[in-house]
């Protein structure tokens, strides 16, 4: 369960204060598939960064499974990112000089307890995303869709509970986009919480939960009619 209470984020740029998030309160239960949409500058990336502990709120509290992140040190946040969250970016962010397998193994470098056979675990993840025959290719030798699948494998390798994806299909053609969204849906079905930023309507329409942001506020929340109470995203609009 991820829980934001009265979260405000203010950026200071050129001596002007920009209110990126204004009093956001939000509860995201585990194992749901949530899309966040909104126009650029609406605060959706800021929200995702705070959810992923890449950024801290200016005020308000954010708890991850009951633990207050405001009380954690920078190192504590780093370890939380390593263990609880898997990140997927629009531009893949693979290291160009490392092959697919090495890229997938990267999170183990910062893990307090890496698996006994990290290579085998990474190979397993690449096979899961359908790249078992491309493990020793450099990112430059892979198509966009394949690169994003390497990134998905990397996000999964430390077995995090939550996958955070910031416009994961923004740089892909429609066929690859569909494959990635299907992959994310599959992960959700296996029990991962998936939170995805998108401004493509047909992708949002596939997600059971859709949160709409505008000027740093939540303006709309779509939930499935048959959702159980324990599975309901709660947001104060």
């Amino acid at each position: 369960m991820l829980k934001l209470e009265n979260v405000i984020k203010v950026y200071t740029a050129n001596e002007n204060n920009v209110d990126a998030l204004q009093e956001i309160s939000l509860q995201v239960p585990s194992r749901i598939f949530l899309a966040i949409q909104g126009q650029s500058g609406s605060g959706k990336s800021t929200l995702l960064n705070i959810l992923g502990c890449l950024d801290r709120p200016t005020s308000g509290t954010y708890t991850v499974d009951g633990a207050d992140t405001g009380k954690l040190s920078d190192d504590g946040l780093a370890s939380l990112r390593n263990q609880r969250f898997g990140f997927i970016f629009q531009s893949f962010n693979l290291l160009p000089r490392f092959n697919a397998l090495e890229n997938v193994m990267l999170p183990f470098l910062y893990s307090p307890s890496p698996p006994e056979n990290p290579r085998a675990v990474a190979q397993q993840m690449l096979e899961k995303v359908g790249l078992g025959n491309r493990m020793h290719h450099l990112p430059g030798e892979l198509s966009g869709g394949q690169q994003q699948r390497v990134a998905v494998a990397r996000a999964l390798v430390n077995k995090p509970g939550v996958i955070l994806a910031d416009e994961p299909t923004g740089a892909l053609d429609s066929k690859s986009s569909r494959e990635i969204v299907d992959l994310l849906a599959e992960l959700n079905a296996e029990g991962k919480t998936v939170i995805i930023i998108t401004h493509e309507a047909d992708i949002a329409s596939q997600c059971p939960y859709v949160l709409t942001l505008s000027d740093g506020r939540i303006t709309d929340l779509k939930s499935p009619k048959n959702a159980k109470v324990s599975q309901k995203v709660v947001a104060s609009l």
Partner: protein, 402 residues
């Protein structure tokens, strides 16, 4: 972990070959210069000190019966003046502990002939067995006088290179006969050239004879000058004072003058200090230049990799993981640059000494100092960019271009 760091650093350095090369070049040149300077200055220092040591024995002092600047010198010729006897210097040698040898100055000018060849006004010196030791003179061919020669006054002579050249050009004069002041002497040795002495006279235009023979030839009235050598250079001044008191006690009412050539000791120390200072300054400049180049290029490489650092942080890298990675890379570059710099330096030193009139001394100092300096540069000047990289905000870093 260490293996991954190594692999990451190697890939990173391999990826941006131009930057790596420039970084290496800065430190490499610095270390190469350092290696050359250490080798050359050690060579030069050794050569200068050797020359100073050859010019004057610094563990000696001079005793005179008249003050400096008042004629005299050598044997007293002007009658009536107070002179020391040979017995005086023997007892001085025996009774003052710390005195290695006392060397009477028995100097005269004489005409030397051999066959039809004549040489006027050659310096003739009477010597004791300790002469060689005190004057740091060596014989380049033949041998020095034996104890027997010195005691009995054999009719033998050792000639300076200038004398040897004059009478026997291109030949070995050992075994030949020369006439000094009308006395027939056998040449038993040739002195090593001393070259410049700093005085007007030519130190190579000299003939040595045993002091016993000298006394027979020139019949000096006594000794006005004695050179005393001491065991330990540090005792020169104390022993000079003791010698003065000792001789004045032997000859009540007479004043004895002593002079310690402190200037020589001073020159030696000063020369050595100046050269070391010069070396240190060059080393510091090399260190700074290499370091600044390194720091700037590392900063540049970090700017180009901001996004990678942001990604690593998103994947769970702590600040110290990032700074460790950057420091490891700079240390690796500097070690690499240090090694190539040392090799380059050694190569250039060999080339320079072969081509120019330079003397170099390649020892373990240069490579060890070079490597330590290189690593110091890498770590010292890597810390700032490494900390800067570690403090990068992950969100900003991820948003950066490139």
């Amino acid at each position: 972990m260490k293996r991954v760091l190594f692999k990451t650093a190697a890939r990173q350095l391999g990826a941006n070959k131009a930057a790596t090369l420039f970084m290496c070049a800065g430190i490499m040149v610095g270390i190469a210069v350092l290696t050359i300077v250490i080798a050359l200055s050690q060579g030069t220092k050794a050569r200068i000190l050797e020359r100073i040591d050859r010019m004057a024995a610094s563990d000696t002092f001079t005793v005179r019966t008249s003050p400096w600047g008042q004629g005299g010198g050598g044997m007293g010729s002007n009658s009536g003046a107070f002179l020391l006897s040979f017995e005086d210097i023997l007892s001085l040698q025996e009774q003052i502990p710390g005195v290695t040898a006392a060397l009477p100055a028995l100097n005269a000018r004489g005409t030397v002939t051999s066959g039809k060849s004549v040489m006027d006004s050659v310096s003739v010196q009477g010597v004791v067995q300790e002469f060689q030791q005190v004057r740091n003179s060596t014989v380049q061919s033949g041998s020095f006088f034996s104890d027997f020669d010195i005691k009995e006054g054999s009719r033998t002579a050792i000639v300076g290179p200038a004398v040897a050249n004059h009478f026997f050009p291109g030949e070995n004069p050992v075994g030949e006969m020369i006439q000094v002041e009308g006395m027939q002497l056998e040449v038993i040795g040739v002195l090593t050239s001393r070259g410049a002495t700093g005085k007007g006279s030519n130190a190579d235009e000299i003939i040595l004879v045993p002091h016993t023979l000298f006394t027979k030839m020139f019949q000096p009235a006594g000794l006005s000058t004695v050179t005393v050598k001491v065991d330990n250079i540090a005792d020169v001044e104390r022993l000079a004072d003791e010698t003065k008191a000792f001789l004045e006690a032997l000859h009540p009412g007479q004043e004895i003058y002593v002079r310690v050539p402190m200037t020589t000791v001073g020159t030696r120390q000063e020369t050595s200090r100046t050269l070391s200072l010069y070396l240190t300054v060059v080393a510091i400049v090399a260190l700074l230049v290499g370091g600044v180049v390194m720091m700037n290029l590392t900063s540049l490489s970090i700017s180009a990799r901001t996004r990678e650092i942001g990604l690593r942080k998103a994947l769970g890298a702590r600040n110290r993981d990032i700074s460790q990675q950057i420091l490891f890379e700079t240390a690796m570059i500097s070690a690499l640059a240090g090694l190539t710099g040392i090799l380059l330096g050694i190569l250039l030193t060999i080339l320079l000494t072969a081509r120019l009139e330079l003397q170099a001394l390649l020892s373990w100092h240069a490579p060890v100092a070079g490597l330590i300096f290189a690593l110091l540069i890498g770590l010292l000047f890597g810390v700032r960019p490494a900390n800067r990289a570690a403090r990068l905000d992950p969100v900003t870093a991820l948003r950066s271009v490139g």
